[in-house]
Amino acid sequence: MRRILAILLENEAGSLSRIVGLFSQRAFNIESLTVAPTEDASLSRITIVTKGNDKILEQIVKQVNKLIDVIKITDLTERSHVERELLLIKVLAMNEKSRSEVKRITDIFRGSIIDIGKQIYTIELTGDVEKINAFIQVLANETEIIESVRSGCVGIARGDKALSVK
């Protein structure tokens, strides 16, 4: 089962490598990983998308918690949450027909064209994983994808629940 883990940890040298090392050392899966400092520069927040049954997930959460740098870890998928991923994608837009079709698809998905080359459009799209996958699929049917980059998933709990030092 797909899980989104949010980790709050000390923003120190080596913190990220401990997380990544732990996952490879114990053969846990990483589908995506994003990391950045929070508004408090002494803290980093990592979002990891992983797969596993309840037993594996229990071990992942415990093992991550055991790392000295880690302040908190939570499984966002346990309850109501919002997840987003950013896609930047370059597609071929050679002629009038293909340009207008790419523009139309982008509008439908509420993305935006952020740069234009001689024959290439660069598009930005935010959404959950399914939306991004669908968008890429539709574009691929219409034109040629030249390059794409995905940020990996970030997530946050809905409502009053918050991940903080406290």
Binding site: L9, E10, A13, G14, S17, R18, G21, L22, Q25, K55, E58, Q59, K62, Q63, N65, K66, L67, I68, D69, V70, I71, V165
Partner: protein
């Protein structure tokens, strides 16, 4: 008045001294020469010069296991640091408090593949509890204090600190000696007490058990909870089995002790586990050398698992009632709760259970046959036990001798039995024994070893002479890698691939060349006398080379892929 300013190297030594470190085990080299210079100019911290950094880590480890204090290692960058890896991994697997100070090339050269540069923090990452890249002189005292705090609290373990040369040098930046012995960390607050609801649940389950077994491990030793464990065992009148790491957690002579469990455990211990309705696991982690096939492990037992480390709970075997906390504190909580419930064991159930256990005990699964004139390795351990009256520190290497010692030397007290249980590090025994002897110079300290293991750190005989560490080395010499050979006999059709040691040195002469006493024992009739002689020599190291039966196997032994109690009792005989 301005505060006195110190170099980084001086701060390292001053902090060690403030942390009451008596011994530092290490080996000098380029990046740590400033620390060695600072050590030279003080008398609080004594440096012990080993002959190989691996031995420094095992020596610090042995010291830590015997005393409960943090063992401290100093190594230079590059090869000095990488030589520590096996020792760090050994300490990690057995939860031993250790701090390793490693030199590093100057900050400006890090990443340039400078001479003797290794990313030791990176290399050691999977085998440390935590590590620090110390980069500023002012950070040195508090980084060390944090490292000691982390190493010694919660589930103990090794901590590595990397110190680049430029922050150590006296000609560079200096700082005042400011140091907070009270460490607080927002990201690290190990649990102490068990949750009261879990304690209640645990006691309710335990008190209703008809066939209870207490399965205790290294956590009981580390937490100094042996007396409390004994009290609990007696209160419940329960059978108690120890893991390899937990031996001495309850006296090996106690009536309720049913022996070690697991791969080479006693039949009664493994049978009791398999037939238990409730298993109370205390500071043990259901290691694969205990459980055998996890899918067949004690299917009918309710498992109460007490451990300081939540990751150990339900990792291999699902715990029905998990209790996270320090094992000494939790045992006290259990005892209080039992007291409040005015618990006494149900006499009929308790008697039935013990009657059953006595039947398994009667098999005498831990026994051997003295059928010819050859010296049986088990017999050597028994003699060793008699002569030392069971009071020696027994530091073991890894292999058959380790299992024989675990089986045939009943340990009355915790911390008497010192071995590499988790990692199984050959070469651990001698340096570990040296660390113990340093801590307890007036006690018998034995290194029980074999002709394979002893050669993995034999260079330390030189260190023993330099620091006058008269340990008694008893090598069960079977001219082969016995445990490997046993597996080859049992599983690989008797093909002894690379398990022979065809070019053994003359260990007596070798010991003598290092300035020690060497004794060889060839025949059974001279065994007791010569061993007596060896132990009578108090002020010199004695290397006893005992030529034992090379065909002896360790029994009993769990049958691979079987349940916990599927065992070979002896060659070709199943339980």
């Amino acid at each position: 008045m301005t505060q006195a300013q110190y170099s980084g190297a001086e701060l390292v030594v001053k902090t060690l001294s403030a942390l009451k470190v008596k011994y530092l085990f290490g080996y000098p080299g380029g990046t740590v020469l400033d620390i060695y210079d600072a050590l030279f100019q003080q008398a609080d911290v004594e440096h012990i010069l080993v002959r190989h950094e691996q031995a420094a880590t095992h020596m610090a480890d042995g010291f830590a296991r015997a005393t409960g204090e943090v063992g401290v290692v100093l190594a230079t960058s590059g090869p000095g640091a990488t030589n520590c890896i096996t020792g760090i991994a050994t300490a990690y697997m057995d939860s031993i408090p250790m701090v390793v100070l490693s030199g590093q090339v100057p900050t400006g050269l890090i990443g340039d593949d400078a001479f003797q540069e290794t990313d030791i923090v990176g290399c050691s990452r999977p085998i440390v509890k935590h590590s620090f890249n110390c980069r500023r002189v002012v950070d040195i005292p508090n980084t060390l204090a944090k490292a000691f705090y982390i190493a010694s609290t919660g589930r103990p373990g090794p901590v590595v600190i990397e110190l680049p040369k430029d922050i150590l040098m006296p000609q560079n930046k200096r700082a005042a000696f400011k140091f907070d012995p009270e460490v607080t960390m927002r990201s690290y607050n190990p649990t102490v007490k068990g949750h009261h609801r879990q304690i209640k649940k645990a006691v309710n389950t335990i008190s209703q058990a008809k066939r209870l077994v207490i399965y205790s491990g290294g956590g009981v030793i580390i937490a100094s909870a042996a007396e409390l464990l004994t009290e609990l065992v007696e209160k419940l009148n329960a059978p108690v089995t120890n893991t390899l790491m937990g031996l001495g957690g309850v006296s090996g002579l106690h009536d309720n002790f049913i022996g070690m469990l697991g791969m080479h455990g006693s039949l009664e211990a493994n049978k009791a586990m398999a037939n238990a309705d409730v298993i109370l696991a205390l500071g043990a982690r259901f290691d694969d050398r205990v459980t055998n096939n996890v899918n067949k492990f004690c299917p009918n037992a309710t498992i109460v698992h007490v451990d300081i480390d939540p990751t150990s709970i339900s990792k291999t075997i699902n715990a029905h009632i998990p209790v996270v906390g320090l094992v000494d504190v939790v045992i006290k909580q259990l005892l209080n709760e039992l007291e409040q419930q005015e618990f006494t064991p149900n006499p009929a159930d308790n008697q039935n259970w013990w009657q059953q256990i006595e039947q398994w005990r009667a098999v005498k699964s831990v026994s051997y046959q003295q059928d010819d004139g050859k010296i049986k390795p088990q017999r050597v351990i028994e003699a060793m036990y008699q002569i030392t009256q069971g009071e020696a520190y027994v530091c073991s290497d890894v292999g058959q001798h380790q299992m024989f010692a675990a089986q045939y030397y009943p340990f009355a007290k915790p911390r008497q039995w010192i071995n590499s249980g988790g990692l199984g590090t050959m070469g651990f025994g001698l340096p570990a024994a040296m660390g113990v002897k340093l801590a307890f110079p007036d006690s018998h300290v034995i290194c029980i070893t074999g002709d394979g293991s002893i050669q993995m750190n034999i260079q330390e005989l030189s260190t023993c002479l330099q620091y006058n560490l008269p340990v008694v080395i008893i090598s069960l010499n079977n001219r082969s890698l016995g445990m490997v050979r046993q597996w080859q006999d049992m599983v690989y059709g008797g093909r002894h691939s690379s398990s022979y040691m065809e070019s053994l040195p003359d260990f007596v002469k070798l010991a003598e060349s290092y300035g020690h006493v060497g004794i060889q024992i060839n025949t059974l009739d001279e065994l007791d006398d010569k061993l007596q002689q060896a132990f009578a020599i108090k002020n010199r190291l004695v290397f006893v080379d005992v030529l034992v039966d090379e065909n002896e196997h360790v029994y009993p032994m769990q049958i691979r892929t079987g349940a916990v109690d599927d065992m070979w009792i002896k060659k070709g005989v199943k339980a």
